[in-house]
């Protein structure tokens, strides 16, 4: 069984984001590039399946520019067997990325596609369910536990109103949530070893995928800043101010 893990590279979300001067995008000057934290959890989940013997090969894939090779190498250093990057600009629409990833999943003969529940940059959370829809596969988003049982995958998910366990036919697409696992660090020897692991680069053209042109990002703005707050001295002052603001009305 082959697992394809889709990863994206983001800029360190701990560094505050600011609006670009032209108002059409954001920038994070001096922020380090990182693997999207949710995708890191997906890589770890795939590695654990392989270590249990349920999975033969873990292939990590990404759709982005050459600078993303660093993130793919990180996944290889964590333990993925090989990587594949489709050379493309950053910030493509999720539908386009999903079409590319669906094509890659077919090409690799994947039984499972794993990815993070959302990118921490655009927070859209669309790509996973889209891949599943395009492939006609089953899907489970927000997974916090996963195990393979015969030819099925059993997933526990955190959903609004509670938790549920879903039993899915394989092949399937699973997006992972925070509490799935704690990703391992890549050790120095493994980082060295990852340099010689195969990392393929494909052109967009070779996949024959069409670009959706039905959505346009017009502009971005920051939400109005909050007024500076007050440090209250004690409980009595807090209660008085809360009453004045109408907490009890």
């Amino acid at each position: 069984m082959i697992v394809v893990v889709a990863v994206k590279q983001v800029l360190d979300p701990a560094v505050p984001v600011r609006i670009r001067r032209d108002g059409h995008g954001v920038e994070r000057p001096d922020a380090r590039p990182l693997m999207n934290p949710f995708d890191e959890i997906a890589v770890e989940a795939a590695l654990r399946l392989r270590e249990k013997g349920d999975v033969r090969e873990v292939v990590v894939v990404g759709v982005g520019p050459m600078e993303w090779d660093g993130t793919l190498r990180t996944a290889l250093a964590m333990g993925a067997d090989r990587g594949c990057r489709v050379d493309a600009p950053e910030s493509l629409e999720p539908l386009f990325v999903a079409r590319i990833l669906a094509a890659l999943a077919r090409r690799e003969g994947a039984s499972l596609v794993l990815t993070g529940r959302q990118g921490v940059d655009r927070d859209q959370g669309q790509t996973g369910p889209m891949i599943a829809g395009l492939l006609g596969w089953g899907q489970a988003a927000f997974a916090v536990e996963m195990r393979i049982q015969n030819d099925r995958v059993i997933v526990r998910r955190e959903v609004d109103g509670g938790q549920e366990t879903v039993n899915l036919a394989i092949p399937a697409v699973i997006t992972v949530d925070l509490r799935m696992n704690t990703p391992r660090y890549a050790s120095l020897p493994n980082i060295m070893r990852a340099r010689s692991k195969p990392l393929e680069c494909l052109s967009l053209e070779s996949l024959g995928v069409s670009l959706p042109e039905d959505v346009e990002w017009l502009d971005v703005r920051t939400p109005p800043p909050r007024k500076p707050g007050i440090r209250v001295r004690d409980v009595a002052e807090l209660a008085t101010r809360l009453k004045a603001l109408g907490l009890l009305s």
Partner: protein, 313 residues
């Protein structure tokens, strides 16, 4: 213009659907609500009495709880081309369904919408709610998930219930089935997503044990209980009470944070809250810095004293 709302009739479904109806009325001339699942007739009757609904469609499926998302997607796929907009809440339900159907139809959805400028232009937060982006969509239909707190319901019932129509059963693809569903133990009466007062607890409660002060204060103020990731990770509360970038976004009039440090990911979920209150032992906590009213105190002492001073219990 005609809008199809896909209702999630489980959990907080009805109050959220009412808000979607309010949003849909801004978009279109007719509003159709679709509800699916075994025994969804009761939900259909309830939804038909919501003000602003023109028609309710219901479709049966044998699964005892909910409908597998792949099956529901297949049904929505068949219905969607008759509408200009297809809406669901930006809950786990809508987040799974809408992108799947949109991709199958080859169109780009907009997820997590908080504002509609016109029928084609929508605002959604990005970068942990640090930035608001405006997008224009030209597809037909337009698929959207909406944040329930950002829209108001048309309010109550308008007397005459809308007509209800049973349509084809939900297709059964057999790709997945739900083995169990464990509802969160209800620890607050109010719905977290739309409550006017939210009291939330964080990592500060972890070591000292128990979520009791949070629950007490929430109850006495008629508010909902929420939590930061630290409290959920510590197993103090169910995961669906998590507020933040990966949990819920909320916009209550009052948000009272007890022992919450205020990581960026958490603050992302309360950007639109009215008055933010922080009670924390650590004066350096980022939450204390962003709060409108910050009290440096031990919450186990401060909360009972606050209830007393407010005259609530």
């Amino acid at each position: 213009m005609s809008v199809l709302i896909v209702a999630d009739h489980l959990g907080q479904g009805d109050s959220w659907t009412a808000r979607l109806v309010g949003a849909a009325r801004l978009l279109g001339s007719t509003v159709t609500v679709l509800v699916a699942g075994s025994g969804c007739q009761d939900a259909a009757v309830r939804l038909a009495s919501l003000a602003g609904v023109d028609e309710v469609l219901y479709a049966l499926h044998p699964a005892p709880v909910g409908v597998p998302v792949e099956d529901l997607a297949q049904l929505v796929l068949a219905l969607a081309p008759g509408y200009t907009h297809v809406l669901a809440t930006a809950s786990t339900f809508g987040a799974e369904l809408i992108p799947r159907v949109a991709a199958m139809l080859g169109v780009s959805p907009v997820t997590g919408v908080v504002e509609m400028s016109d029928r084609f232009t929508f605002t959604r937060p990005i970068h942990a709610n640090g930035v608001l982006a405006r997008l224009r969509v030209s597809s037909t239909p337009i698929f959207l998930t909406l944040q329930p707190w950002a829209f108001s319901s048309t309010g109550g019932s308008d007397g005459t219930p809308a007509p209800m129509r049973r349509i084809q059963d939900v297709p059964q693809l057999g790709l997945s089935w739900r083995m169990d569903f464990i509802p969160s133990t209800s620890i607050g009466q109010e719905d977290l997503s739309t409550a006017q007062v939210v009291v939330a607890g964080g990592g500060g409660l972890e070591k000292s044990g128990g979520f009791v002060p949070v629950q007490q204060l929430a109850k006495s103020l008629g508010g909902a209980v929420g939590a930061s990731r630290a409290a959920v990770d510590a197993g103090l509360v169910p995961a669906d009470l998590q507020i933040g970038q990966t949990g819920r976004s909320i916009a209550p009039k009052f948000y009272i944070a007890l022992g919450i440090s205020g990581a960026i990911q958490h603050v992302a979920g309360i950007k639109d809250a009215g008055t933010v209150v922080s009670i924390n032992r650590d004066p350096q906590a980022p939450m204390a810095a962003m709060a409108d009213l910050a009290l440096t105190a031990d919450l186990y002492e401060a909360v009972p004293a606050l209830m007393e001073a407010l005259g609530v219990k």
